[in-house]
Subunit: 475 residues, 2 copies
Amino acid sequence: MAKKLTAQADDFSAWYNEVIAKAELADNAPTRGCMVIRPYGFALWENMVAELDRMFKDTGHVNAYFPLLIPDSFFQKEAEHVEGFSPECAVVTHGGGKKLEENLMVRPTSETIIADMYARWIQSYRDLPLLINQWANVFRWELRPRAFLRTTEFLWQEGHTAHATAEEAEEETLRILDIYRSFAEDYMAIPVLYGPKTDAEKFPGALQTYAIEGMMKDGKALQMGTSHNLGQNFSRAFNIDFQTRDGSREYVYQTSWGMSTRTVGAIIMAHGDDRGLVLPPRLAPHQVVVIPIAKSDEEKTVVREAVDRLLESLEGVRVKVDDREQFGLGWKFTEWETKGVPLRVELGPRDIASGQAVVVRRDTGEKEFVPLESLGGRVGDLLETVQRDMFQRALTFRESRSLEIQERDSFVTAANGDGGFIHAHWCGDPACEAAIKEETRNTIRCVPMHWDAVSGACAYCGGPSERMVAYAQAY
Amino acid sequence: MAKKLTAQADDFSAWYNEVIAKAELADNAPTRGCMVIRPYGFALWENMVAELDRMFKDTGHVNAYFPLLIPDSFFQKEAEHVEGFSPECAVVTHGGGKKLEENLMVRPTSETIIADMYARWIQSYRDLPLLINQWANVFRWELRPRAFLRTTEFLWQEGHTAHATAEEAEEETLRILDIYRSFAEDYMAIPVLYGPKTDAEKFPGALQTYAIEGMMKDGKALQMGTSHNLGQNFSRAFNIDFQTRDGSREYVYQTSWGMSTRTVGAIIMAHGDDRGLVLPPRLAPHQVVVIPIAKSDEEKTVVREAVDRLLESLEGVRVKVDDREQFGLGWKFTEWETKGVPLRVELGPRDIASGQAVVVRRDTGEKEFVPLESLGGRVGDLLETVQRDMFQRALTFRESRSLEIQERDSFVTAANGDGGFIHAHWCGDPACEAAIKEETRNTIRCVPMHWDAVSGACAYCGGPSERMVAYAQAY
C-alpha cells in the first residue's frame, strides 16, 4: 500500500493495472488471458448484479440456465454468427477420457443453444413473449487481455427473448437499452451516449445492435452494454416457429442483450483518480468506512461504544468498521482511499467528547464535522450527494472532451488527437467508415438516438448525411 | 398437463422424470449429459442460493470468482486429486483457432487453481483465515445422467478456506457442516443424518469428508452437501506457506465444501407426491397462488378489486396471481399442484360477498374458509405451519424407514430390501465395507455424529465396533 500509484496523466494504462492490484479487485490467473475476481471486486460486481437483476425482473424477465458447452454444429447454422465467433472459441475435444464424436465449444454467447430449446418450448402465440435472462460465464479467446475490459473468460448476463411480432422485438430491444442507460447513469454514475451501431459494428447475426457508450478519463470510449434485435435470423436457422392467433405459422422475432464484468472496468476508469478508485455509493461494497481512533484501553472502550451507537444510526447503510490493530491510521486512510469507499467516518475520544465525528468524502476530499446525533441522516444525504456529483462530474468531463466538427482537416486532426467524442456527420457509407478507422483509429461508437436529427455533410467525404454520429477511439 | 403422473409406488424413477418435465423445472439439453434449468426450477435454485449465501456471509465468508479452465499440470500436483478427477474431465485442447501447448481442464472442482492463488495471496498469519466462497458451474463427465442428481454440468457453491492451525480448519469444516444441516432442515424441510464419511467415500485429497444425508421417498439416501477438512494436502502440493506469529514458516490448513443443484433433486424426491411437487414455503418461487374466479365482466371487476386488496395484505409474501383467461379452473388447479405451490387462494364473487376466501394447502389438501380481513395473518401462519409439518412428515417417514440391526442375516436381508437407513455397527475395516457394498449395494452414508457412541459388534463380520454407522442404498 505504501508505494504511490502512477499518475493517470503519466500513464493511464499503468495506473489502471496498479489500481486493480492495489485495490484488490482482481489478479491475473494462471490460465492465460483469464483473471481472478477477488472478493472486493466481486462484491462490487454482486451489487451490480443485484440491481440489474431487479430491473430485469421488474420488467417481466425470468432467469434460467443453459449449458456451457455447445455442439459445434449449432454454430454452423447461422452464417454470420459462426464467422464471428468460431475463431474465438475454446474447443473441448475430449471428455470422460475419450475423444468426442463432435467437438463442443465453450460458449462465447448462447444464442444457438437457446434457440434450439426455444424451438422445443414455443408452439403457439400463447407461449410468447418468452423473456429469459441468464447469468453466466462466457469464453472468447483474447490476444491482448486486460483485466475486466478484455478477458478470455468473463461473467455477464445474456437476455434472450422471443416475440410474436417484429414491433414487439424492437420494443424489447429498446426497453433493455433504456434499462442499460438507466443502470449506467443512475447506478454507475456514468453518462452514456446510446443508439444503434453501424452495420460494421453490429453483433454477428443481428439485424440491429444498440449500445451504450461511456467516456473514460483518458478520453477513450467504452462500450458498456449492447441490445440486439435479431429479427428472424436465428428463428429461421433453428426453426422456431409458432401458431399465430389466426392459425398460420410464423417464425418468432428475437432479441438478445448483455452486460458484463467489463462494466467494472468502466467504473474504475470513469471515476478513479490518482489516489485510486472512486466508487459510486449505490454500488460500493462499503458505502462508509468507520475508523475508530483510540490508544489506551480506556479510550478503546469509549470509542467502541460510540461506534456501536453510530452503527445503529446507520442501519441500511453498508458500513465497514476498520478496527484492525496492526495498521496505523495513515495506512488505513490510504487503503480505503485506494479502494474508493465513498465516505470515511473518523471517531476518536476528542470527537466523542465534543459530540461529533469527522466525515470525509472520497470524491472531493471535503471534510466536515457532523454532530453524532444527526450522523445517520447526514451520511444518507451525503451518499446521495456524492452519487449525484459523480454523475455530474463525469458528464462535465465528457462534455469538455466532446467536439462537434464539420470539416475534414479538423476532423482528422481531432480524431488523431488525445481522445474524446467527436460529433460529426457521416454519409452512411461503410467504405468511408472503414477509411476513417484506418486513418484515425476512430470508430463510430453509435448513432445517438437522443440527438436531434439534423442533416448535413459527411465530415470525411462531404457526402449528404441525415444525422450526426459519435466517433471515438475505443477500448 | 392433462395426463396424470405415474404413481410413485409404481415407478419412482418415471415419476421423477415426469414431474420435472410437467412442473417445468428442467429439460434435457442438446449437450450430452447436460440439462437446461428452466425458469421455474431456476427460481427455486435462486431462493436456495440467496439463503445459503446469506448464511455464508453471516459467518464471515466472502465471494470471489476463479477461472473455469484449469491447466492440466495443476491436477498432477495432488496425487489423489488427479486420480479422482482426471477421468471425469472435459478437456479443452484448442483455443483461438490453435492447438494449445497445455491442455485445459473444465473445472470439476477448483481446489488446485484456488490453491495456486492462495500461495500468492497468503504471506503471514495476518492474512488468515481466508474465507472465500465461489458460486460456479462445474463439469464432471457422467455416464448415467439424471436431471439435478447427476448432470455433466451442474451449478454449485464451493467454499475454500485457509487457516493457521489444524484446529481452526476442523472448526470451519464443522461450522459449514452445521450450516448445511440447518439449511437442509430449516429451509429444505429435510431431516439429515450428518457426520464423517468413511475413507472409501471421502473427497480425493481430503483428510476427512463430512456429509449431510437425506432420505428420499423411495427409501434411498441422497448426499446433499459435503464439507472437507483438507489438512495440508493441497498447501504442501502448492506451497501455500505463511509466517507464523513466532516467525517460523508453516503450511496453511485448508477446507473446502460444496452444495449443488443436486439439492433441487432432493426437494423433489423428499416431498413430492403423486400429484407433483410439494415445495417448502421458505424456498418456493411462489408461496401462494391466487386464482380469481369470475365469468362476467362485472364479476371480473369485483374480483380484481378484491385481489388487489388481498395482495396488499400479503406484502412480503411471494404471490402469483393466475388470471390467465385461456385456461379453466381445473387446469389451473392441476398446474399449480404439479408445481407444488404451498397455498392456493381461490376468490370468487360468492366468496367476496360472504367476506371470505378459500385457502387450500398443497401438502395436505386441507381447505379452509378464511375471513378476508384476517387473510394476511392466516396465510403467514399457514406458511410456517406447512414448513414445519413438511419437516415433521419427512422425519416421520425417515424414522419409519430406519432399522437398527445387530445381526448379519437380518442385516443382509434388510440391506437387500426396499431401501431405508440401516443403523448398524461397523468394525472400521474397509474390506468389510467393500464386501457389504458388493453384496447389498449399501454404502456407509456417514458416521452420524449426533448419535450416542455405543460400542458393539460389526453387523457383518462381528468384529468390535465403537459406534454405529448409517447404511443405505444411495443415489
